[in-house]
Subunit: 496 residues, 2 copies
């Protein structure tokens, strides 16, 4: 039986996938390689490409093709693929072309200027560009909201976490806000009497890089299909066949960069192990940003900060950075589980991290829903940082509301993905540990195959075959259950 | 007075310029950054982009717009711009879309495999891909030949050196073949009794890189608008606002890499100083590849190997690589003007270089014109290397006919640009030295402004405003005159 409409769609989406390839590489280059004078021409080229993709997706022929394809005889994977095509199409159809172009240009401008404004605490200069980013994001949210019958913020969040609504997030986060401050306090009281030996720098960048590459190797990164580079804000980019992860180095502290590399390697292995036969079609993409973060946080939090893993890599640290008593596995574990509220989200410990996310979620939702103005952000930031973490950020824009890249180009709705990811990751490891009681012993002797096989079978190989709740249920026997996350934290940090 | 047709063309060509930006960055990445597994998806994405550009250029509306714009009231620069638009359009119009795609894919495949085949002397493996590249290039040459009334080879050469025909090149090269072998012999006889001190390695790559950057700084490279990286085959790529040059390092020999950097910096300064107001339109591009090579060779040969320049940079060499008697300026000059026939074109001295180019010109012309088959290349190569340079290349594919990147993706017709460039550069410096009798003294004390100002005024700022012969005549008072090149060589190498 032939499937002409579906085949026509497949041809169009293959073309889109190739445009997306160029966008991904140019975007990685913009963050990791491009000198400053290149930004204006690059921004114009990126906006042109975004317009082209939008135009391709809104080709009038597609309406009839999507309808006709529904009636064709498709495999389950093809049908899931058609569903993802439909989702992309619906998003583009309601977006006016001028808005696609304006958002792309305003985002590039704001993000690029932010790189220097952040360093100089220049919140007012940032506002000049950021107001336009907010205005356009609200316009996008309005348009999507009307088409999808969601609140404006939920409509943006659906780009990263389709099917999850902010009322659900609010319930989950509301619960976390109940128990997290008390837990942080109990852990801090407990850790007050625990001593640890800090690592003594400086650690030359080249040696840190070599260590990072060695750890990536342990974690199964395929270097014939990816790279490690440097950028202001670490990320995982590129394409599935050629994954580009980045980190940043401080000569005083190798531990943050090293764990950052573990985090990005989690993202990278997801991308590198998506089913290659579907790479050129929407169903072959990663499921959602929450699932993506569940991979990076499975690597960074569940595996990376476990005593067994630190025991495994301690010899690598010694090999690359020399011998120090700080590199004793038990001491490394004490450092990597030390709880101490601080300014910076990406440097936060596992317990404080959700507080950083909840704060951002609350502010960005109010901003997109037009309940607050961009000018209101610093005061709200200061207030919530004090309330949730007891940290004073007044006047410190660099380490306060200017610290993240996400808002600079209007990626509102992304932040919840981090904590959802942490929760999914805890849920996976609960399942995994039940099936593999000697998991830690395996890890300690360098056998990570149980973890990789489980992720390969349940997450990586499934790509966008299932909606997120079904994916998680098939993997763990239940949909998202934050209790696993809480139990993991209590177990690791209080031993209960 | 309004110019609606011209304005419409300007909008289309601005779009093309942005696509070209993405192609340039993705292509740089492919050569300098991309891991091997990325090549298949990258090749598909690049082919898609080439198809898109072809489709944009062959939009049926353009025919009427180009005609109407001829009647509009345009400035001289606009008219030159229109001429370049017309040239791009004529090229695309006769090229079938399937050929654009097939050439792009076959070129990517052949070039990528060549990187490993070259190392292992795998001429037979190379032929498997190369035959298809030749077949498609011949098809392209036929199509262009019929449209333009040129021979097939001339039609390809016109892409790099518009207006120059191979009969003219053949006369010039025929003359060079008369006097070059004798000159090489006289210089070698003279140099047989001259001693020099070779530099003693190893020279760590990081130190060589730092030296390269320092030399680029002396040469006025704008680091806020460009980068230096590493690739198998050195090149200058990227875009005018963000120029990417590459080199390659050998720990035993810093001198080749350093002079390679000087060469690419010549290309880079041309790109970085093209008139920014025209950057997005065809008239704003570099004039031709012969003029491009005239910039790199003005830097590398005329300036870079002059005693005055070597005196200027000798302290930088000492600063980065330590002190050696080999770094005495006069010794450096002896090394950089040492004449010794060898296998590799890019490592050839100034006298042997034209022989490498003439050999390639003769072979590629015969190949494109269907007078020889791809299988005939090695025997011809061996024969001509022996005849022109007395070098035996039999069986040595790596250092013989597999050494260059140009043929791997079908860039036939490019090679003559190198020797035309060397000749233009000699002609520029003849003019420049007449206007600035103390040029060497200026260079030796670090004042390169006479050279940069002359190039800025006569070449860089002119972009594609004039056809090549007129550009050169305006700059030097006469069109191409190879006698300047010959005199330069006799003067530098025999002191006559």
């Amino acid at each position: 039986m032939t499937t002409p409409a579906y085949d026509a769609l497949t041809a169009t989406f293959t073309r889109l996938y190739r445009y997306q390839h160029l966008a991904a590489i140019a975007s990685w280059d913009q963050a990791a390689m491009m000198p400053p004078q290149g930004n204006e021409a690059r921004s114009a080229a990126m906006a042109e490409l975004h317009m082209l993709m939008h135009q391709t997706l809104t080709d009038p022929a597609m309406t009839a093709q999507l309808q006709a394809a529904q009636q064709e005889n498709l495999t389950d994977w093809d049908r899931a693929n058609l569903h993802e095509m439909q989702r992309d199409w619906e998003y583009s159809l309601v977006m006016p072309a001028h808005l696609v172009e304006a958002k792309s240009l305003a985002g590039s401008r704001c993000e690029h200027a932010w790189r220097t404004q952040r360093k100089t605490h220049d919140w007012q200069g940032f506002l000049d560009n950021f107001r336009e980013v907010v205005r356009l994001s609200r316009e996008e949210a309005q348009v999507l909201s009307q088409a999808q019958g969601l609140s404006p913020y939920d409509a943006l969040m659906a780009k990263y976490e389709p099917g999850t609504q902010s009322a659900h997030i609010e319930r989950i986060f509301g619960d976390v806000k109940q128990w997290l401050p008390g837990l942080i306090q109990r852990v801090r009281d407990k850790q007050a009497s625990e001593s640890f030996t800090p690592a003594q720098g400086p650690f030359p960048v080249e040696k840190q890089r070599a260590l990072g590459l060695a750890v990536m190797e342990v974690l199964g990164f395929d270097f014939s299909a990816g790279r490690l580079d440097v950028s202001t804000h670490p990320f995982c980019g590129g394409v599935a066949q050629d994954v580009r992860i980045t980190t940043r180095y401080s000569e005083e502290d190798f531990m943050r960069s090293m764990m950052g590399v573990v985090h990005e390697t989690g993202h990278a292995r997801y991308e590198q192990n998506l089913p290659r036969a579907w790479a050129h079609l929407p169903v072959g993409r990663a499921r959602s940003m929450g699932i993506h973060e569940s991979q990076s946080l499975a690597f960074e939090m569940q595996l990376g900060r476990s005593p067994a893993f630190l025991q495994l890599i301690a010899p690598l640290i010694r090999q690359h950075l020399g011998d120090q008593s700080a590199f004793e596995p038990s001491n490394l574990a004490r450092i990597y589980t030390r709880v101490a509220p601080g300014f910076i989200r990406v440097d936060a410990d596992e317990l404080c991290y959700p507080a950083h996310v909840i704060l951002r979620f609350e502010i960005e939702r109010a901003l997109v829903n037009d309940d607050i103005a961009p000018d209101d952000i610093p005061a709200l930031w200061d207030e919530k940082m004090m309330a949730y973490l007891g940290v004073d950020t007044r006047g410190n824009y660099r380490d306060g509301c200017l610290q993240d890249i996400h808002w600079t180009d209007g990626s509102f709705g992304y932040f919840p993905s981090y904590t959802l990811g942490a929760m999914y990751a805890a849920q996976y490891f609960n399942t995994l540990r039940q099936a593999t009681p000697d998991l830690d012993a395996q890890v300690a002797r360098g056998d990570l195959s149980s973890i990789f096989n489980w992720l390969q079978n349940h997450i990586w190989s499934q790509a966008s075959r299932w909606a997120t709740p079904e994916l998680v249920e098939r993997a763990t026997g239940e949909s998202l259950n934050p209790a696993h996350f809480k139990r993991h934290l209590e177990q690791r940090y209080l031993g209960i």
